[in-house]
Amino acid sequence: MSVVGSLLDEYKRYKALAEAAIGQVSDEELARLGPGGGNSIDILVRHLAGNLKSRFTDFRTSDGEKPWRHRDNEFETASLTRAELMTAWDAAWETVIAEVSQLTDADLNGTVTVRRQPLRIDEALHRSLGHTAYHVGQIVYLAKEMRGDGWRTLSIPKGKSEEYNRQATRETAAAHAEMLKRR
């Protein structure tokens, strides 16, 4: 598997994890702020969508922090419907997947800029994947907190690790993402 392929599969895994968590919470829970004014799930979704759309639009030819992005606004409460939120999310991910899919490993030593700072493409991709995984972890934790006992697990169920290890069926990132999408 190529470097680009392994990164793309991980992007898809974390996209699927976030969507499987978002799908388990109500509209009210999506917008519910955490204790002490912490980020709600919809704020995290808008932040990730804004970040990814900005970074990957014209990925190789323009700065990753676009003039039309307003990062601070992503952390303010907004009265978006679930449909509006997911439209922004889907649009961002279409851009990510289209741009990353066009790359080959031969492109990875090239350079992009983010806030006018040059970054090797492989560094930019790893940084972006790390940022995505970081916030998806928060989305999943918040959603699980809200669902409580009704939570449908996204990985190995509690107490089932040994059983899973004997017959592992979703070891690759791609297989894990597919499993999450089929739920």
């Binding site: 204790p35 912490g38 409580g148």
Partner: protein, 129 residues
Amino acid sequence: MTPALAAWRPGAGRHNIWELIVHAAYWKYVAWRRLTGAQRGSFPLAGSNFIERPVAPTARALRDDLVLLDTMHATLRAAAVGIRPSDLDRGSAQRGVTKRALLTGVAAHDLYHAGQIQLLKRLARGSSA
């Protein structure tokens, strides 16, 4: 990070920071094992995946688990550095997963739980506000 903060849970049955620390250590161990083909059974703690913490809510116990995390990280990193670039796309001991994919996956897994640890710190502060 105090032991009390590391052990704080937002609700019954939810993972605390301490458990996420040990979980990250465990999966670094698993990734190392899959990378090197080492046999199972050498993780220093009993159990797998999410291991209940704390056993004792002391600074010493927390420090021991942080040392475990550092040790597993260093062990995995040393194994990763030792792989020839031409071997990265060869299979690992995890069926169907190349060494490259394994390393990409475990790195992202770390960040996934790092985000949760930061979230838990904020939730804990908010709950006592």
